[in-house]
């Protein structure tokens, strides 16, 4: 059985003025106008083409196949997956192109707004189980490509169950306050970095949203960005699981792993001690129609380089 049916298409070339400096994601600046022009020209040329859908599928895989929107072994992107939190219970949306229960009637703009700004077409806020403040760090073209891919999968007529919020005044008062104070915030680059640590940073922080599981959370589910990727104890991670510390700390993190071992792990789940990943991590490596396992070796190496470059944080996960 072929492991990959589609080869990822190389990223758009990054003009010199837009190339990120110092490996950090840059804010939009004076070069934004030029960037918009370049992107408009390119996206008009590539709208809904097989190449764009293939690029979109690749980014979709790099985002773990949007696995939160698929119940394991059920229809792709049909939603319905349950998430319990201190606010109550929500169910992942149906993001298939179904016109009544999915996003079939939404415009590209509306899909992108929901993904990165957390607003539905009717103005309602998404609960940030869907980490829109993190996806805000994705480049516009990547988001457009993902939309093209989302529109290309089979529509499934299946309404997600309605959310059950148990905290009074949650959506009107607590949620905006939480978002302003506690949500991790990523800002988009004009164009996605194409190689090196900058690419690894982009894929880890924004697209792969590793911090959503791997960065420690407090009692209010706030993310402790000062300990980025330092893990979560049992009960604090997704679905109550413990999540490993993947900073380069030698005692409590993965400082003893080589770049090659990290690169291999993201494709196979094989760890240096012969153990094999399971649980939610293996789910995201496998992905849905695509997953981390479908990243190119160059992209996995970039992620490995980035993970070796972030501050080591001592945090023993039991």
């Amino acid at each position: 059985m072929p492991r990959r049916e589609m080869r990822p298409v190389p990223d758009l070339p990054t003009p010199g003025i837009l190339r990120p400096r110092g490996g950090r994601i840059r804010r939009r600046g004076a070069s934004a106008a030029v960037a918009v022009l370049v992107l408009a020209m390119v996206s008009a040329a590539g709208a809904q083409s097989p190449e764009q859908i293939a690029r979109g599928k690749y980014i979709f895989g790099a985002a773990a196949g949007c696995g939160c929107h698929t119940v394991p072994k059920q229809a792709l992107n049909a939603g319905g997956r349950k998430y319990d939190g201190p606010f109550g219970t929500v169910y992942a949306s149906n993001i298939t192109p179904d016109p009544t229960t999915g996003i079939g009637k939404w415009t590209d703009e509306q899909i992108i707004t929901a993904t990165r700004a957390g607003r539905r077409p009717n103005g309602e806020r998404l609960i940030p189980v869907h980490p829109y403040t993190v996806f805000n760090g994705m480049a516009e073209q990547d988001l457009k490509d993902v939309v093209a891919y989302l529109r290309s999968v089979p529509p499934v007529n299946k309404a997600a169950p309605a959310k059950k919020i148990t905290v009074p005044l949650f959506e009107s008062v607590f949620l905006p306050a939480w978002l302003a104070t506690f949500a991790p915030r990523e800002l988009p680059p004009a164009a996605a970095p194409t190689s090196g640590v900058a690419r690894g940073e982009y894929l880890s922080r924004a697209v792969g949203h590793c911090g959503e599981c791997h960065t420690p959370r407090t009692m209010t589910m706030a993310v402790d960005s000062s300990r980025f990727l330092a893990g979560n104890q049992k009960g604090k991670g997704p679905e109550g699981s413990a999540v490993p510390n993947i900073t380069p700390d030698r005692d409590t993190g993965i400082g003893n792993w080589s770049e090659e071992q990290i690169t291999d792990y993201l494709e196979t789940g094989n760890k240096p001690d012969g153990d094999v990943a399971g649980g939610l991590m293996m789910e995201v490596i496998q992905g849905t129609s695509a997953g981390y396992k479908d990243l190119t070796k160059a992209d996995r190496q970039a992620i490995a380089k980035y993970l070796k470059s972030i501050p080591p944080v001592r945090n023993q996960i039991e």
């Binding site: 492991r3 049992k234 699981s241 413990a242 999540v243 490993p244 510390n245 409590t252 196979t268 789940g269 094989n270 760890k271 240096p272 001690d273 012969g274 153990d275 094999v276 990943a277 399971g278 649980g279 991590m281 293996m282 789910e283 490596i285 496998q286 396992k293 023993q316 996960i317 039991e318």
Partner: protein, 160 residues
């Protein structure tokens, strides 16, 4: 008591003792060859499986094909032991098993059987010195033979 009654009584008493001791022994039969701590026993088996898989990867990388057979055989044999190492009621604090093991027992058994079958395939390919077949199996073995069980049935293990 007269002779016949005491004979019947002693038969009944002896029979009860035999049944009682037998029932007590049945509980221990699962860990006859182990330490008596089934969670520790199975973690030991899993560590051995991890070491065997690590060896297989190293040998495959070095092109040392025939030598993979012994590790694959270890995996096949220890896979057969897995179901018996997860008796009802063995979900302790030290265990990384999820309740799903017992809620979906037939799936769990099937996953162990899958490991055994794939390991035997790998052993046979290695014994036949078939480099291509061996490397093809090794490529996906971690995910499909080990990960396939760890995904639904194991909580994240302690840091390695």
């Amino acid at each position: 008591m007269n002779g016949r009654l005491s004979l019947t009584a002693s038969v009944i008493v002896t029979a009860s003792l035999v049944v009682g001791i037998g029932a007590g022994c049945a509980g221990k039969s699962m860990s006859k060859t182990g330490s008596g701590d089934v969670v520790a026993d199975r973690q030991r088996v899993m560590k051995l499986q991890g070491a065997s898989w690590g060896d297989i990867q190293a040998k495959a990388k070095a092109g040392n094909i025939e030598a993979i057979a012994v590790n694959a055989e270890t995996l096949a044999l220890t896979a057969q032991q897995i179901p018996a190492l997860f008796p009802e009621g063995s979900l302790t604090d030290k265990s990384k098993a999820k309740p799903e093991v017992w809620q979906k027992w037939s799936e769990f058994e099937a996953a162990a059987k899958n490991l055994q079958t794939q390991a035997e395939k790998l052993r046979d390919a290695a014994r036949a010195k078939n480099e291509q077949a061996t490397q093809d199996i090794v490529k996906d073995f971690g995910r499909t033979a080990c990960g396939a069980c760890h995904t639904p049935f194991r909580q994240p293990p302690p840091r390695s």
